[in-house]
Symmetry: C2
Amino acid sequence: MKVSTRGEYALRALILLGQHPNVIPIAEISEKTLVPVNYLEQILLQLKHLGYVKSKRGIRGGYILRKSPEQIVIGQVIRQLEGPLAPMGCVSVTAYDPCPLEEKCLLKPLWTLIRDTVSQLLENTTLNDLLEDQISIPEGSMKLK
Amino acid sequence: MKVSTRGEYALRALILLGQHPNVIPIAEISEKTLVPVNYLEQILLQLKHLGYVKSKRGIRGGYILRKSPEQIVIGQVIRQLEGPLAPMGCVSVTAYDPCPLEEKCLLKPLWTLIRDTVSQLLENTTLNDLLEDQISIPEGSMKLK
DNA sequence: GATAATCTTTAGCATATTAGTCAACTTTTT
DNA sequence: AAAAAGTTGACTAATATGCTAAAGATTATC
């Protein structure tokens, strides 16, 4: 049930960019986020292609947010960087992968519930929520049965 | 955010065993769950060492549940078979792994929330719940802010 | 007690993923 | 022109995953 470094690193970079309105060179992002420069380049490039950031070349170049923090949905970033949020292919909406057992599978409801829960959580969190440190425990939290 | 086949297969086997009160040979479990025999042997062995099942050797041998379905907590099975439920080491209770950013990390609250949510879900589901197909969407579902 | 079914255990392998490095190249600014 | 900075792609090392092979140990039944 892990999130890979790629997603984590991307979010770190986005947070840093969200905290500063100006262009920041990769080297500085790397320092502040503790992500190796060369690896970070790949990730920033991908974020650029996805439209989250834009880059400026040359002597005072670097990266800057393209979308506003309210428009950047964490769930989407993670999905785009490291694949479906679903724990199993059989319950993935973005990468459905059928399974021969499916019909009478007693596990599917559980995987579905997990998928829905995690998805709901991440789809309703934006970069802005993170920046404002507004993540909190939902009120009437999870109850089964 | 994937669950590996190992956890999935273990649960499939436990479900099958939970559905039958008698000893079932590996070959039959393999057929019914669609898991390769040799791989299944490893997994059942691990489940045996963990105390979930017991085995009977010889000509009418096979596997049978050791604990009752109510006592088998899905979250624990998954954790024991494939490691911590937490999405990141920095928020894992069973395998905490510090991170230099931690203090001012704006991501940690999010990871914590995910960990707590998934954990709560899986820790409150037993094999019995699966057998009775009683997994359902929690009432006052997730709300952020 | 032989034997056949079954469990037990170890070793190994192929593939995929992850994390990261390196180096050459292009663009832009000064 | 030169320097700073982004762009790109190839390449590597480590690890995890999914699975196979095979030899050995145990036990129920005849």
